[in-house]
Amino acid sequence: MSDSAETIAARPSSTATRAGNGQFRRSLVGGPVTALPAVVIGLAILAFAPAYYTHLALAAFVNLIIVVGLQVFMGNSNIANLGHSAFVGIGAYGVAVLSTPLAMKKLSIPNAPFGLAFVELNPFIAAVLALLVVAVLAAISGKIISRLSGVAATIVSLALLIIVHSVFLNWTDLFKGNQAFFGIPKVINLPAMLVASVAVIVIARLFKDSRWGLQLRASAQSPQAAAAFGIDAKRLRLMAWVLSALICGLAGVLFAYFAGTISPKLFYFQQIFITLAMLILGGMATVTGAVTGVIVLSIGLEFIRSIESGVTIAGIQLPQLLGLSGVALGVVIVLCMAFRPGGISGRLELDEQLSRLFRRNVR
């Protein structure tokens, strides 16, 4: 301990509040920096790529928003979540039921309950209402999840996914069951998707760096010590769960509005695993990790899909390798868990890595 004569507790100061504001500003700057790689790729596709790639990019940005939403809960609470696609589905079906034109509804869900067959809302209002439904269901399920920890919470999240999926499949009057729900207004294009992605990334950064994010991360690392320092971990887990669900719900809304057609199987295990693999690969401790994982795996999987169907390289015809992308996804999770559990980006956000690099170079 230093033997300085000055006492530690002597000077009244407001460094605490100043530090708080500084942190807020840092995350406001850090968020867009974190989003930068995704934005650059998005703009490049917008400017140069053919329409087919635009469609792929839209799907990838939906995944990006889901993975960022997943990071908000998993990254801060350190509890694996296998149910987030339930909220993506609720968001998507919410706007599908509320905003699809009446003429289309007459064909697809003529017998919808609560008079919903005769409702055609403005897409924006429909989105707000769908997210409201997501928030209510997240608050109810979160009440249960936040009381649990570790494996128990994960199993409940999985149960939630299965319940929601069953409802989509079997409440045919409202959701059209197994068949595709079509005719949803296509109101989202790539620029709108980019804006939404950046907003979501900034929100995730603000939450992570906020006092609640910090407290939640502390409680994930030592529940006993967190309690001994006055942290109410349950409340914080609930908060992160609802925010995460809202972001995933937004991803569902955006998906429905660009694809125009949805079906229940889109919001099930395949989506769960692909987004989970992205987050694990990128590194779930940071929002940067979420972005990195989505970029690397989206490009990687697209490449694998292109050789899956059998290509000709230097005159040699390769055989069809159907299912290769599924295998690759599993391999990515296994290798990453075994050799780099922190993922590609590790502990630091992109802006933190950059400022560290910059400082080192200055020295």
């Binding site: 605490a16 910090l214 309690a227 001994a228 320092f229 006055g230």
Partner: protein, 239 residues
């Protein structure tokens, strides 16, 4: 400041605490000693809200905290360190301290204003490592961080659970000086548990000796060491 009255606790037939009572005043350093399994840690857990006592009461400045849970005890102003270090390992050193300071700002803003995190870190020689993950610190630094974090809560009662464990003689000498400085600067009540009797005798004006869940003696340090029951416990243990 702190008054614990007739606290008992049974774990599956084993009586860990039997009618244990103690008190600790503001500005006092109380040593809590006794052989292994005497119930010291159980008593500390009852004070910090980790355990709900079967009977008896725990009061801090006339506020009843019996069985209120660790979060509420922390908010009431009880800070502690852990025998087996429990830092937030992946958070940075500064963030560890900030977590405690956030709670302090919520419940006692005036106390929080008096605590300067930069100075606190500098005082405990943690300023150079402020931005590294706490888990990567050396053992001695981790012990210092435990104390710095507890102080950032602006406590009115500080519980130090074996702070000198694993330290050599010079290090525990420095630690004793630091704890004395805390008493002076923060004016809080301090309870120290330790097995290093030389460290305890040097530091504590008053002792509380436990054996088999009971408080067998308490009072001024010199007086306590003249108590035949204390001599029996300690001599009996060493022979």
């Amino acid at each position: 400041m702190l008054s614990v009255e007739a606290v008992s606790k049974t774990f599956g037939g084993v009586q860990a605490l039997r009618q244990a009572s103690l008190s600790c005043a503001t500005g006092e350093i109380l040593g809590l000693i006794g052989p292994n399994g005497a119930g010291k840690s159980t008593l500390v857990n009852a004070i910090s809200g980790v355990l709900r006592p079967d009977t008896g009461s725990v009061k801090l400045a006339d506020r009843d905290l019996t069985g209120r849970g660790p979060e509420e005890c922390a908010r009431a102003g009880i800070a502690r360190t852990f025998q087996n270090i429990r830092l937030f390992k992946e958070l940075t050193v500064r963030q560890n301290v900030e977590v405690a300071h956030i709670t302090c700002r919520d419940v006692r803003p005036d106390a929080a204003d008096r605590i300067d995190i930069d100075r606190l870190l500098a005082h405990y020689e943690l300023d150079v490592a402020a931005d590294v993950p706490a888990g990567t610190l050396s053992y001695g630094s981790q012990r210092r961080l435990e104390i710095a974090r507890a102080l950032a809560l602006g406590p009115s009662l500080l519980l130090l659970d074996e702070p000198a464990a694993g330290l050599n003689e010079t290090e525990s000498e420095t630690l004793a000086e630091a704890i004395e400085a805390i008493r002076r600067d923060f004016g809080c009540a301090i309870i120290v548990i330790d097995h290093d009797l030389r460290f305890i005798n040097r530091l504590c004006g008053r002792l509380c000796v436990m054996d088999q869940g009971k408080v067998i003696a308490s009072g001024d340090t010199e007086e306590v060491w003249r108590d035949p029951r204390v001599i029996e416990v300690y001599v009996g243990q060493t022979s």
